[in-house]
Symmetry: C2
Subunit: 213 residues, 2 copies
Amino acid sequence: MKVQLENVLPADIEKRSFEIIGEELGRELDPDQELIIKRCIHTSADFDYADNLKFSENAVQKAMEAIKKGAVIVTDTNMAKAGINKTALARFGGEVHCFIADEDIKEMAKANGTTRATACIDKAAALGKPVIFAIGNAPTALVRIYELIQEGKLKPELVIGVPVGFVNVVQSKELIMSLPDTTYIVAAGRKGGSNIAACIVNALMYKIDNRRS
Amino acid sequence: MKVQLENVLPADIEKRSFEIIGEELGRELDPDQELIIKRCIHTSADFDYADNLKFSENAVQKAMEAIKKGAVIVTDTNMAKAGINKTALARFGGEVHCFIADEDIKEMAKANGTTRATACIDKAAALGKPVIFAIGNAPTALVRIYELIQEGKLKPELVIGVPVGFVNVVQSKELIMSLPDTTYIVAAGRKGGSNIAACIVNALMYKIDNRRS
């Protein structure tokens, strides 16, 4: 078996990966969005993210401001929470919550006949703090965010809307993108995931730090 | 904005998703491998997994036996660890470890000039227990597994080799697939991820339970 490993120092792997992504993309990206898009490709090896990521006006700048102000990040899975760089986040005074396994969420969901993800959004809204949602799994979470925004009960700093899947995923993202005054980063279509949700949060933090990959 | 949500009960979403995947695939899969492949597509909305997943001979049956015997699962990221269904795993007496953030790993990696992922594999080998590796991030972890197997110092029950990325990822997977007596499930090519690593572990457990999706 002749397998030739490329001789790249561990510290240089990410830089080299971003170079390869840039070469294979073969086109310029919006400078504000570039590092976010490339990191999603880096996380998935899927170039579809070059086309499916949709940003509301000035979303990246507004998102970076929110992170710098220490906005609370709320994820819909513990996997997305695990993927967010806590060391980077701590420097901005931010914290990340995932309520999905909380006992009160189970009870709320049962009492109201909703998914647990829906109940998590109600709990996040009740925090009364500036919130960034990073939703990589549950379309019902996005639908609930949409409803609460429409009802004037929620005004998130940013909605990262990247659930993955086949039932109501596309629609839930369209709902978020229909909101005129909401800052969002959405992966249109079926693709996304907890890894992509975490990756977008990390990319925004690294962009604040001026990391080039 | 006219967005029409599909009326599917939360409990039925997964079943409906698997139906859609089956319809769009439009071909039969190996019955042993079917639920693993479909769950990877379910996790990523990426039909590439129908073609890129490679199984050593009887890998699924052997993997299920190892889980039933309570093999220890070792992941290379906390994200993969977070994605593994702990309730399901506990019923088989299994446990899941991720050593990547351990203090001794940092020191070992520094002392030996390796990545932390490499050091994690050495630590796992030293457990002296039946181990399933679920590697979704670090090609260096797969390379180390390959080396230790070649040297006769490691005989894992199963290697789930699904790192994602652009540098040495393809090669690290080829190394694993070149091993004649090693049970593996590998996503050939660049794709994979912590979510896919966790998903394959979960799919194997659900298959033992005879869940149909």
